[in-house]
Symmetry: C2
Subunit: 199 residues, 2 copies
Amino acid sequence: MNKILDFYFEYSSPYGYFASTGIEALAARHDLTIRWHPILLGPMFKAMGSAPLVNIPLKGEYSRRDFQRTAKLFGIPYTHPDPFPIATVSAARATLYAREQHPEKLATLVGKLYAGFFAQGRAINETSVVLDICAESGLNRSAAESALAEDSLKALLKSEVDHALSQGVFGSPFLIIDNEPFWGFDRFDHIEKWLQATA
Amino acid sequence: MNKILDFYFEYSSPYGYFASTGIEALAARHDLTIRWHPILLGPMFKAMGSAPLVNIPLKGEYSRRDFQRTAKLFGIPYTHPDPFPIATVSAARATLYAREQHPEKLATLVGKLYAGFFAQGRAINETSVVLDICAESGLNRSAAESALAEDSLKALLKSEVDHALSQGVFGSPFLIIDNEPFWGFDRFDHIEKWLQATA
């Protein structure tokens, strides 16, 4: 049986975006089954007494540079968005909708939302843009629009974030394989080493 | 002419220790000349409104696990010290003393201080232990003891930390090559890629 790879990601996270571009290849190399968990970092920052990376003195300036450089070194299209960071509630809800109702479109939607924001300058904080991207991913736009307005989907996102917190998730990307937590795009090579060592 | 690699490190930083075990090989591979900068993270945490990693909710617990795992994956001897973190003023001052007066012993001293704390359980927060390690590194113990008590060495450490802050240094390890800043042991592979791309 395949191992499970729980993949936690926030849409306003550049490193989450970088991870999303490599997660399926990682899973394929090691026969992992991905479970996709869109999260919101706001509640996690609150738990840690922290703030978005770019708002922290010293670290913020470095981070902006590291986003661009990492993208370039790994050959990932990247244009730093403005405004940044953004609210990603609609994008996260749409992702949960796809996961629950149309799982065959899920990976495509995640890829298009991330690329929309970080490579094409699309305002995925706006629900209308998220719905456009849903349609471009093969989902029915008006069905998605109805779903996003439902209390059950709002409640699902909230419980996903609470569950993530209870699992010790505090950043994006955050990956858990067999109870082993890995934080950051820069842990992909650690994951490879770890999987080889435990295989 | 060789490029300069400015290497900033705090002795109470596990990732600084991991970096120290690979820094000379990195420099040798790319004809870089290392300039060693022992720093204290306290003033940087203050500037960022941050705290030692292990004291941050969620992130702290993950970090303790990541220290052990990273050491294991990279084959670096590691026993998580207790107490941790510690004050490293004496270790940093001794390192500056070696750098200024006995540069041929510097890399050895850095290696022995780090291994003393992170592999051998030695209390390098204590000046007497730092002086023992100075002696084991080929320095004269009593000359080092006198130097550590001098105001000029205290002032040098303070100015080093201030200068590091002015360069945007906020963590350990922090490396600057040709004005390009890299934060973290997990940026070593980025440095390799970056050096290859700019060679």
